[in-house]
């Protein structure tokens, strides 16, 4: 790594990647500062992955530990899919933010604190018996105390804002410091401020002044000696934007309904962390999107199904306890063989659990969690941006196979953001289905010989009036039937229809050698951590591969063959071994597990350690 001495006497250090966390009181505007930083880092060509971490209390008492809100971002000159294991830079706006976030910081990392907020009252709220800025409690780090409150006040005084509004600008002061630290331009933020505050010139000027003051302070103060920079990454050419998983899922649903030439009806009951899908869709009615905020989770599921019966793309979204309530509706969807998309943004359970924290413990529920023999398609997105193609795929499979499809996301994917290469709508598959069959050829449960799907005939089609419902149906005619042999046949047909989808999905593909010592299998939001960990180990010369499953029911047709190419199989997941159990059950493979249920995604290091341990047990 080359270092350059700058004209102002400071050093300039290029780094391949950097992890920064903004933390403060929930009213301090840390989410905004963090996302602005992420925008600038993106626009300057680096790959950025972000994760907000906010309290479940809407407004916890100011200065309290419960009220700390954080935003972490990882930006790099290469592909990254995690927000970073441990921040190198922590910006802490008060003592509580310092206390909550300190344990995560890299040893030798930089802590920038707003020293003005380290008052006896605030220290007490953060359970500090004495001021950590005095003494050597923080000896392992480089602490940069800045009088942000006072410096901000001074910077914005000409804007003549109220004292409260003036104080609000200090997140932009902090942002200015961070932008200097990583040699990023101010101009895009100033342009954003002009747009955002076009109706409030005073706020625009004050925030801009605070931003510049922060930047200039770092540039001139002796305290700041080292400026870092991260070079642009090599990305596939194209136009990019940052998306969270929830945004990407919403866009995927809109795109798929559009390509199917059908109305999208999204029915949902508000629940963390899935609500943003509803918000995003509600804001886009002009795309032939109808959102229904229903009275409960059950209504959301069956209203979406009612919309599907009507020929629309019926979709619903939920999390944890909401999924439990939808299971009855899912049974009806399987029996009536109607398309339905359910996005389950997993959170810590059981019951209310930890609503704002991530987990992957609904896999069994997704695959098995219904009464009767009740198979449906289960997909999982691997990264925030991957929620777009997977939501699109969910709609494709739901329509083509006349089946409910559950797309698993999680709290980490939902709130995390990363760059998404904007697709050309013309490149998206055409999902329009054939017109209704001729009356003489129509029977409600007559199946396509290849897909085994029945025809989707919506009300309004003359001559094809028919009834469907939750009672067992006679094969072909769809008449209510209690016939023993018919039930056996229908149960097997429904199972065969879903199993057959394995022929219509991409084969399992590993990253790394097709044979070797170990394959690390993951699914869902663990992608980034596993990919990075496997990369590290492989660079050390071991034959380790990564297999990330996006199709969990049915599994890709070649999955058993792929797994058999390795001496060991490790399944890393944020539950107590649900995928591992499914794989062992299906393939009799002696997989071992790495299970973490702390409400947080894996750190790269954790996965790497497990791989190294297993390899240590496995001679080369």
């Amino acid at each position: 790594m080359s270092q350059a001495k700058l004209a102002n006497g400071k050093r300039f250090v290029p780094v391949p990647c950097a992890t920064v966390r903004f933390a403060g009181d929930s009213g301090d505007g840390m989410q905004l500062a963090g996302s602005q930083f992420a925008d600038i880092a993106s626009m300057t060509g680096t790959v950025v992955c972000t994760l907000p971490d906010y309290p479940s209390e809407i407004r916890a008492p100011a200065g309290s530990l419960a009220g700390v809100s954080g935003f972490q971002l990882n930006f790099a000159d290469h592909e990254v899919h995690t927000p970073g294991d441990a921040p190198y830079v922590l910006i802490a706006m008060n003592p509580a933010a310092l206390r909550v976030n300190m344990p995560d910081l890299q040893p030798g990392g930089i802590v920038i604190v707003n020293e003005d907020e380290f008052t006896p009252a605030n220290l007490a709220k953060a359970d500090y018996a004495c001021n950590p800025l005095e003494g050597d409690a923080l000896g392992a780090y480089r602490v940069l105390p800045v009088a942000m409150t006072r410096l901000n006040e001074k910077a914005v005084e000409s804007a003549q804002l109220s004292r409260k509004d003036a104080a609000r600008c200090k997140n932009f002061f902090a942002l200015g410091l961070a932008l200097w630290l990583y040699d990023r331009p101010l101009q895009p933020v100033l342009e954003w401020l002009m747009k955002k505050f076009r109706k409030s010139p005073a706020a625009m000027a004050a925030n801009g002044a605070s931003l510049r003051a922060g930047y200039n302070f770092a540039d001139t103060a002796e305290l700041f000696r080292v400026q870092h920079t991260v070079a642009p990454a090599r990305l596939p050419a194209g136009r990019y934007r940052r998306v969270t998983g929830n945004e990407a899922a919403a866009l995927g649903l809109i795109a798929a309904a559009n390509r199917a030439g059908r109305t999208l009806v999204y029915a949902s009951y508000p629940i963390t962390p899935a609500s943003e899908i509803l918000h995003e869709l509600a804001a886009h009615a002009e795309y032939d999107v109808r959102t229904l905020q229903t009275e409960d989770e059950i209504a959301a599921c069956v209203a979406a199904l009612g919309a599907s019966f009507g020929g629309a793309i019926g979709a619903t979204g939920t999390s944890g306890p909401g999924l439990a309530l939808k299971t009855e509706g899912l049974g009806l969807a399987v029996m009536t063989e109607l398309p339905l998309v359910v996005i389950n943004v997993q959170r810590c359970g059981p019951s209310t659990g930890m609503p704002t924290k991530t987990e992957q413990a609904d896999l069994w529920m997704a695959v098995h969690g219904r009464h009767g023999e009740c198979p449906l398609v289960v997909l999982a997105a691997a990264t925030p941006a991957d929620c777009f193609p997977m939501a699109f795929e969910a709609v494709r499979l739901a329509i083509k196979y006349m089946t409910p499809v559950m797309l698993l996301s999680d709290g980490f994917l939902a709130n995390g953001a990363e760059p998404w290469r904007i697709v050309d709508p013309a490149d998206l598959p055409d999902l329009r289905s054939a017109g209704p069959p001729a009356p003489q050829d129509f029977a409600p449960y007559r199946r396509d010989p290849v897909t085994l799907a029945r025809a989707w005939v919506a009300p309004g089609t003359p001559g094809l009036e028919h009834r469907i419902g939750g009672l067992e149906k006679e094969d072909v005619t769809g008449a209510v039937s209690y016939d023993a042999a018919n039930h056996q046949r229908m149960v097997e047909l429904r199972a065969a229809k879903i199993a057959g989808i394995a022929r219509d999905i991409p084969p399992a593909e590993v990253s790394g050698p097709a044979e070797g010592d170990l394959v690390v299998v993951g699914w869902g939001g663990t992608y980034g951590a596993i990919a990075a960990a496997v990369d590290e180990v492989r660079q050390a010369g071991r034959r380790v591969a990564h297999l990330h499953l996006r199709y969990l029911n049915p599994f890709p047709a070649n999955l058993g063959d792929v797994l058999s190419g390795y001496r060991r199989v490790l399944v890393a997941e944020n539950n107590l071994g649900q995928l591992r159990s499914l794989l062992r059950d299906r393939f009799l493979v002696d997989a071992v597990g790495l299970c973490k249920v702390e409400g947080r995604p894996f750190r790269i290091r954790e996965v790497q350690d497990k791989i190294e341990t297993l390899l240590g047990e496995t001679p080369r």
């Binding site: 925008d39 993106s42 060509g45 954003w192 642009p232 090599r234 596939p236 194209g238 136009r239 990019y240 934007r241 940052r242 866009l251 809109i254 559009n258 030439g261 059908r262 009806v265 029915a267 886009h284 009615a285 002009e286 795309y287 032939d288 999107v289 109808r290 229904l292 229903t294 009275e295 059950i298 209504a299 069956v302 209203a303 979406a304 199904l305 009612g306 919309a307 019966f309 009507g310 020929g311 629309a312 019926g314 049974g331 009806l332 904007i422 697709v423 709508p425 017109g435 009300p459 309004g460 089609t461 003359p462 094809l464 009036e465 009834r467 469907i468 419902g469 939750g470 009672l471 209510v480």
Partner: protein, 354 residues
């Protein structure tokens, strides 16, 4: 958009289809499996009588139901239909009607379905004024599960699950609907087919949620429930028909009526103590206030006759119309959505592979 994809029939075709529609067109090939003598037959017959009169092509009519004896209804009608899950029919109907506002959507439900497991959905459907027609077949018993008390069973009723008598006070569906600010609520009885048909037709022609409570028997588990209706002389004393704009009279030769003493109803006998017809309440279902409708809905034996007819019929925008208006407004304001514009919204940047 869906309508385009569906090759919806042309106006001429629709007119052609309509001209020929008769009751037989609405009879499905499925064998009707209710117990002989069940009140459900009467409702099915009147629905099949009314549907051809509505001027709606058969393919645009959808019946949605939940679970229970009455919820088998859609199978017996040759329209589109979906037999759903217990209590959820109004929610299924909501998704369907919002996806396809041009359809005529009907919900057939029972007292267990609508007033116990699905009460939530019923209330929310009504308060939203979703343009669906709800036929609530109330036999005050759980029939399909073989004779337990229902949420509308009278207090003290002895059933298999309440051998010592129920200790629950019944829900009264009409009052429940009025409390949810229903724009149309009526009550009829299976044993008066002409009245039943009038109520069903009025509901069908109402724009907004229309709830018709249909009192009926259960031959097997609650057969005597409506004996006082079958017996002509008892009927006059125990039932009162509401007619728009007319004084509310009942009894032999209409000799008695309902009057109000302050906020309370009283039974008045014409001629007794100088009571004249002008002293009786005059029925007005169109009153903006639902107070009088609530008073009439609450009349019950032994002190009062049970009222039949339209309690309330007022106009209010429907949920589906408002939803469509919001979609149209979004298109008018921002133009019809183009995916390319949607994808590139917000902060974007270009990367060129180096």
């Amino acid at each position: 958009m869906i309508a385009d994809a569906l090759e919806c029939c042309t106006a001429e075709q629709a007119a052609g289809n309509l001209a020929q529609l008769t009751r037989a067109d609405f009879q499905s090939p499925q064998e009707v499996k209710w117990c002989p003598g069940c009140g459900d037959f009467s409702v099915l017959a009147q629905v099949q009588n009314v549907l051809p009169r509505l001027g709606i092509p058969r393919e645009r009519i959808v019946f949605v139901s939940g679970i229970g004896c009455s919820s088998r209804f859609p199978y017996y009608l040759n329209t589109y239909g979906i037999h759903g899950i217990h209590g959820r029919a109004p929610a299924i109907a909501m998704g369907l009607k919002c996806a396809r506002p041009e359809l005529s959507v009907w919900v057939v439900t029972g007292d267990g379905d609508a007033c116990s497991i699905g009460t939530n959905h019923l209330i929310h459907c009504i308060r939203r004024n979703l343009d669906v027609k709800i036929l609530l077949l109330n036999n005050q018993i759980y029939g399909l599960t073989k004779g337990q008390y229902s949420p509308t069973s009278e207090f003290g009723k002895k059933t298999k699950s309440s051998p010592a008598g129920t200790i629950e006070h019944p829900i009264r569906p009409v009052e429940l609907a009025l409390a949810a600010d229903a724009t149309f609520v009526a009550r009829s009885v299976f044993a008066d087919p002409a009245h039943l048909a009038r109520m069903i037709e009025a509901a069908a022609r109402h724009k907004g949620t229309a709830l018709v409570e249909i009192r009926q028997n259960c031959m097997i588990f609650n057969d005597k429930a409506l004996d006082d209706f079958s017996d002509r002389s008892a009927r006059d004393e125990h039932w009162v028909y509401l007619e728009q704009g007319k004084p509310i009279r009942f009894g032999k030769d209409g000799g008695r009526g309902i009057a109000a003493l302050g906020m309370d109803p009283v039974v008045a006998t014409l001629g007794a103590g100088g009571v004249r017809e002008a002293d009786l309440l005059v029925h007005d279902a169109h009153s903006p206030s639902s107070v009088r409708a609530y008073l009439l809905a609450g009349l019950q034996p032994p002190d009062f006759p049970t009222a039949l007819g339209i309690f309330r019929q007022v106009e209010k925008p429907t949920y589906d119309d408002l939803l469509t208006a919001q979609v149209d407004a979004a298109v008018a304001k921002r133009g019809r959505g183009e995916l390319a514009r949607l994808f590139a919204a917000g902060t974007t940047w270009l990367a060129s592979e180096s």
